[in-house]
Amino acid sequence: MNLGATIVRFRVAVILGLTLLCASLLVPGFLGATTLSLGLDRGATVGLIAIGMTVLLIARQIDLSVGSTFALAGIVAVMLQPSLGIWPAAMAGLIAGAAAGAINGLLVVTFKVNPLVATLATMLIFRSAAHWLTDSQPVPGTDIMLSVSLSKIHLGIFTLRSALFIGAVLLLHVWLTRTVAGRNLFAVGSNAEAAKASGISPGRTVFLGFIFAGLFAGLAGVLQSLTTNTGSPVFGSELLVAVIAAVVVGGTRIEGGRGSALGTLGGVLTIASLTTAMEFQSVPAYVQQVVAGCILILLVVLDRTVRPGPRSHAATGGTH
């Protein structure tokens, strides 16, 4: 039981380890720095959005509009380049992302719309806005050389994007486990009424959570647009499922009240390394998704059938 509980407690790490092990046996050179940096970089886009999604899921909310926010923020960042310059335009893209999150928050908190419905609606609205702004054409940025330099690899392993992701996920971990605000988030997610009774404002927490998620979706979108020198209305249309999968693989519950930043990091890395390993072996895309789906089910079933011991709570991110 002890061993079983340990495995379940660190199930994400175990699965990630197994994935890396299998991949390194099957694919020559898989653990080389180039491959790792590549895996990290491709995980980073999903990962940055997953950071926001982790916070929302813990608070028992969800944001389906992240893929559309991603596209919209990227488009804003590219379209404003000629008039504002590259960095102010990127800033405007971030603000657009946060604003999109604020709209979601307003709908859910003030107008009491179910988050699934509210963000489904804004998903369609933001996506259409992206098409409308761009006339359904991709918009090229002003400086292609910037894109080339942004995708450079530093210290042998990090791109700007993947460094930001790792940094943000570690900060989130500290915030969730070491601060009062972080603990309040779990309280709101597991029982909003009780949280309210103990003096926490669930509405405010949820509203800020949506802004946070929008900001990170926007950040990922702006980085994507800068590294590809393109703002495109079709960007990010496949992201949502990958993001939710990564967060859930990481042990965060859709039902709220449970989750962790390090779990999300593990989930993102697992999915990224799986994809990369299977691509290296030329496995068709649909088989890849079957494998990813099976791992998702396996982890969730493990989570349900074997209850971790009482001491594991804090380490996996506080459960009550």
């Binding site: 590549l38 991709p138 994507q224 495109s232 290296f280 068709p284």
Partner: protein
């Protein structure tokens, strides 16, 4: 002690060396999709020809998602392949990836769809149909069918896709160039998807009704979508002249039955084959032309029996 270590090292190095000697040339192929009426036969032809040429293939499918494609380019580079064939779905987004490939000394070519001219410095060649010319040919065909005047709708492919841009641009530019009185009522995107084309066609037929004198669809799949919508809305009424592109079997059938006016045959088999042959020449150290087109044929009821459908 040090001796066996050295022996082990030498043995390992020898093993590594022999492994790399024995390896065939590997080419990474980032394709548009792996289950698609046009892309699938192109992929199959490309892989079959690669086998004949003794080239090992890594085929990655973007499933029409540009972001996936840009990441897959990274996979190709990390895998240190000998060459890259990219099917671009966006005129710009792949440029940083192509630049990294060039830094890594991996030659890259484009198949099927063009990119912006800024990409030219990073690619060795672009093989595939001249989509702009296809647009022009479609304009001539539809203009002829309408006797030089009328109003038409354009059912375009995926927004921002080079093929869509070329096929729509060539069409519109050609109409202006020959001073045609054919007027475009609306251009809508249906993503090269029959189902989406059916839905947008229903809307267009409701909106414009009898004002639609002709239809230009960016591919035959979408032309089929329009025909189905027209039959729903106007049972028994003959369709207006419809011009498609690709030269699919069912388009040939539609031309024979009079439901379609014309299509342009563009063979996916030749498309795929030309790409792998071109990269093979590059790997052999030969210089290749920057642009290698595949032949195009306009098919109407007059020559439908004598031309082979593309797929």
């Amino acid at each position: 002690m040090a001796n066996w270590k050295r022996r082990l090292l030498v043995g390992t190095l020898a093993l590594l060396a022999s492994a790399s000697w024995a390896q065939a040339k590997t080419v990474c192929y980032v394709t548009a999709a792996d289950a698609h009426a046009y892309a699938t036969p192109a992929n199959e032809a490309l892989e079959a020809r690669a086998k004949e040429l003794g080239i090992e293939m890594i085929t990655l499918s973007q499933n029409f998602d540009v972001q996936t494609g840009t990441e897959q380019l990274g996979t190709c580079i990390a895998r240190s392949v000998d060459g890259i064939i990219l099917w671009p779905l966006d005129p710009q987004a792949y440029i940083p990836g192509l630049a990294r490939a060039q830094q890594a000394g991996i030659p890259a070519i484009l198949i099927n769809s063009p990119m912006d001219s800024q990409a030219n410095q990073f690619i060795k060649s672009f093989t595939g149909p001249d989509v702009y010319e296809e647009g022009e040919m479609a304009a001539d065909s539809l203009n002829g069918a309408l006797g030089g005047e009328g109003s038409v709708i354009i059912i375009a492919g995926q927004a921002g896709n080079g093929t869509t841009i070329g096929r729509v641009g060539g069409f519109v530019d050609r109409l202006a160039e020959i001073g045609s009185k054919v007027e475009v009522l609306d251009t809508v995107n249906a993503d090269f998807d029959q189902q989406k084309a059916l839905v947008v066609s229903r809307d267009l037929i409701t909106r414009f009704g009898d004002k639609i004198d002709g239809v230009y669809a960016n591919d035959d799949t979408m032309a089929r979508g329009f025909i189905d919508a027209w039959k729903e809305a106007n049972p028994g009424k003959p369709t207006p002249p419809i011009v498609g592109i690709n030269g699919q079997k069912d388009a040939f059938a539609s031309i024979k039955s009079g439901e379609m006016h014309s299509t342009i045959v563009q063979s996916p088999v030749e498309d795929g084959r030309l790409a792998i042959e071109t990269i093979a020449e590059i790997l052999d150290g030969k210089e290749v032309e920057a642009r290698r087109p595949i032949p195009l044929t306009v098919v109407t009821s007059e020559n439908v029996d004598s031309v082979e459908p593309a797929f």
